[in-house]
Amino acid sequence: MDLIKINRYCKQFCDLTLEKEQLIQTIGPDLLPYLPAITEAFYTHLLAIDDAVVFLEGRVDSLKKTHLDWLSSLFTKNLDDDFAAHLYHVGAVHVRVELPADFVTGAITFLHQKLIHVVVYLYGNDSVKLLNVLQAINSLFGYNLQLMQLSYQQSMVTAELARFLDITGISHKLFSNMVAAYDKQATT
């Protein structure tokens, strides 16, 4: 897995340009004070969704902190390859706890919507800035979602393969040899 390539690909796809990244860093200090309240609203929202509650029971406080750290990092950290690697890891952790992939899409949509509210409140008087910030945040959330979806896809395939091999008793080595035998055939 080439994270440098994946990071570049997701940024390009979501049109997260260097200018947008710089703008996000610039507005970070304005937004940071609102992020704890958004996190609270996010968990209140999740706890009202029956299917989500099972994933949260007994760990809401620690998840809130984890979540706030991630949300803050969007406006304080460089969205570099380490960041992409971290999000890839987050996707894998979610797959490990069997969190449905669509939960992440719903979560991103909810958070995006909350941030739009804050952004309009902060920059509503300057329509040019407002447009630029809204576009930057749209790209930012899309980029996060796409990275986590890619990670999900890969982790799910890995997890399903591991389960299949476990059930059939086929070793990883044998599976690799099977793949090699058929890959070779496909290219000759």
Binding site: G169, S171, K173, L174, N177, M178, Y182
Partner: protein, 120 residues
């Protein structure tokens, strides 16, 4: 030396019955160790498929309470494929004609498997 001995076992096996068309020894990881296969048959595929079938056979036999696996037998329009362990690290695969007398082949293959197990 080892590969010559294995080839000679396979050669004897193929010669033991006119019904046996081909045979091969492979590792349980699916890698070919020695083979007497028809030209055009891909050794890597035969190795990988045979080891996978045997692995699945092991599990199925265990799961359906049939005890330790002795062999896996597949029959197609054009004949039989017989797979059996040759010791714990190797597999022997034999291809036989559609009307083959299996009883005799089972015996010959078991003997060959024992001999292979001693070498590997």
């Amino acid at each position: 030396m080892r590969s010559e001995m294995l080839s000679s076992i396979l050669s004897d096996l193929n010669g033991s019955s006119a019904d046996i068309e081909a045979s091969a020894v492979l590792s349980t990881d699916g890698l070919m160790i020695a083979s007497m296969l028809p030209s055009g048959m891909d050794e890597d595929r035969v190795g990988a498929m045979s080891a996978a079938m045997l692995s699945l056979g092991d599990r199925t036999s265990e799961e359906l309470a049939r005890g330790a696996l002795e062999q896996v037998l597949i029959k197609g329009d054009h004949g039989y494929i017989l797979m059996t362990h040759a010791g714990k690290d190797a597999v022997i695969t034999v291809l036989a004609k559609p009307n083959a007398r299996l009883g005799l082949i089972f015996l010959d293959v078991r003997r060959a498997a024992e001999n292979i197990a001693k070498i590997i």
